[in-house]
Amino acid sequence: MNNIFVYCEIEEGLIADVSYELLSKGRKLADELQCKLNAVVIGDDLNGIENNLFKYGVDTAFVFDDNRFYPYRTLPHASIVTKLFEEEKPQIALFGATSIGRDLAPRVASALKSGLTADCTNLVIGDYTETRTGKEYKNLLYQIRPAFGGSIIATIVNPDTKPQLATVREGVMKNEPLTKPINGEVVKHNIDDYIKNEDFVLDIIERHIEAKKINIKGASIIIAGGYGVGSKASFDKLFELAEILGAEVGASRAAVDAGFVDHERQIGQTGITVRPKLYIACGISGAVQHRAGMDESAMIISINSDPKAPINSIADYVIIGDINDVMPKMIKKYKELSK
């Protein structure tokens, strides 16, 4: 009892990347707390799915397999997770901070009357002393998250209620399967004990999900363009450098809104969070919302015509100049040097 649970999201019959990231983190937390790592998977046609979970060190996989469970709908998933957590009494439960996780987790937290921390970017185990009462708590989950549009980082704890619930942002935890799968267990409960007819009052009439093609958050080098790049055509130069460096192209919201690139490349508070080895910001001013998604990059180079652009203050190198002039020079020099 009092184990760690990860809610695993299903995308097209597969477990979502964010869930693997949470399992990787969950395994480490479970080792530290000397408890088990369990997974709950709710979907359709899930035969054999547990084998993927065992690669991440899942001790027990609770699988709920029924053709009404995919695509995701709030109420049946919320009913199952709520009841399962009432029975299993986990100490920690993690969800992806995705459109599914952020729809589901608050509903579950409300039903369990337990604390939920949103959109965490880090999770750490530590002790806590309640300032008013002086009461001490051992081994709580520190849930670390940005708020106020990324201008503050708050550490939140849920001392008195269990489970300690958190949604965790995609791409911030590393996806690390174990070298050898463990010998876990699968539990399949009787589904009708977990859902009610009223859980199916909502129908999905239509659904268009664009396949995931690009993998920006996995890239170790990102070349990101902003509104200052100026046009779709100028973005081609960014793609050209990305190609030869083995990098991915990202963008600011202003560049996406201007139609230079697709939304799936947007980096920042309302886009994806990245922390590559190298982030080259081209014609990006560096609004807080943009920085929220990239300021943990190991190295930042800013190319901007404005020496005072806010992004420059968090950069390691600043190239003052016109992007349309600098980009071809970088491509040329790199080609010469790497010959």
Binding site: A111, D119, F148, G149, S151, V157, N312, V318, I320, K329
Partner: protein, 292 residues
């Protein structure tokens, strides 16, 4: 007939465009210096409500907000855009509420306003940034939720259902739900209409009881004569809340620590944009195994 729609809106510090005035010496934000605004996605929600009201005659829109007395400002802003009535939940005992306690208070106020057809709010507030209050309120009311709405396609009162288009991370979904339902609206939904000059004239003197405290007798009389100028204020007692479930005692999450993000940085190396300097930088990156 017509629909009864309750809009949930929050007044928030504007964390979007942090100007120099709101920046402290050490490069961190002075949160107190940020202007208070109508939470952006709540304006998207208000627009959806106003469209429903126009499409289904006889509909009524009530706006509910919980906050300090000054949050009456956003009720006026909504009256200028076409809502029918506003309620302000305000009481010291609400202070320090996390999302669980906030949704408890809001759900009690909604129950007092029952029956209703649609509860509609923003997806997320730009200060707390949690996006949890909507789903938690729906759970407490025992009604279904539709999050990330981009458009209310249609509402069929006779059949008691509603069709909504949702914006997901990587696509869209069109769903049909029974009423009553709670909807949270995504920023990709249409922007809210501007204030209407006639409504502005009509409601500019709308006040809560607290706001009237320091006003002249004549002004208070004007309020009494025109009931529509009265912005209702509700306290903990008005919604029969259990104070143990509110504020810090009703909030399972505790803020252990807050660190200000320093938006300014140590030293930065500035590079000229000539070929020579760029070449040197590229060489350094290759030598340090950053690229190549």
């Amino acid at each position: 007939m017509g629909l009864k729609i309750i809009v949930l809106a929050k007044q928030v510090p504007d964390t979007r465009n942090v100007g120099k005035d709101a920046m402290k010496e050490d490069g961190t934000i002075n949160r107190g210096a940020l202007p208070a605004v109508f939470n952006p996605e709540d304006l998207n929600a208000l627009e959806q409500a106003l469209r429903l009201k126009a499409k289904y005659p006889g509909s009524e829109i009530i706006l509910l907000t919980m906050g300090p007395t000054r949050a009456a400002e956003i009720i006026r802003e909504a009256l200028y855009r076409g809502i029918d009535k506003g309620y302000l939940l305000t009481d010291r005992k609400f202070a320090g509420s996390d999302t669980l306690a906030t949704s408890y208070a809001i759900s009690l106020a909604i129950k007092k306003l029952s029956p209703y057809d649609i509860i509609i709010g923003g997806r997320q507030a730009i200060d707390g940034d949690t996006a949890q209050v909507g789903p938690q309120t729906a759970e407490k009311l025992g009604i279904p939720q539709i999050t990330y709405a981009e458009e209310i396609v249609e509402c069929n009162e006779a059949n008691n259902n509603i069709i909504v288009k949702r914006r997901l991370e990587r696509g869209i979904e069109i769903v049909k739900s029974t009423l009553p339902v709670l909807i949270t609206v995504h920023s990709s939904a249409p922007a809210c209409r501007t204030q209407n000059a006639k409504l502005f004239m009509k409601y500019k003197h709308a006040r809560t009881v607290s706001e009237l405290q320091n006003e002249s007798e004549d002004y208070i009389k004007l309020q009494k004569d025109r009931a529509y100028l009265n912005i209702e204020e509700w306290s903990v007692d008005d919604i029969n809340a259990d104070i143990q479930l509110l504020g810090l005692s009703g909030s399972p999450t505790k803020v252990k620590k807050i660190e200000n993000v320093v938006l300014k940085h140590k030293e930065v190396a500035t590079i000229d944009s000539n070929e020579n300097s760029i070449g040197k930088l590229m060489k350094e990156l290759i030598d340090n195994h950053i690229i190549g």
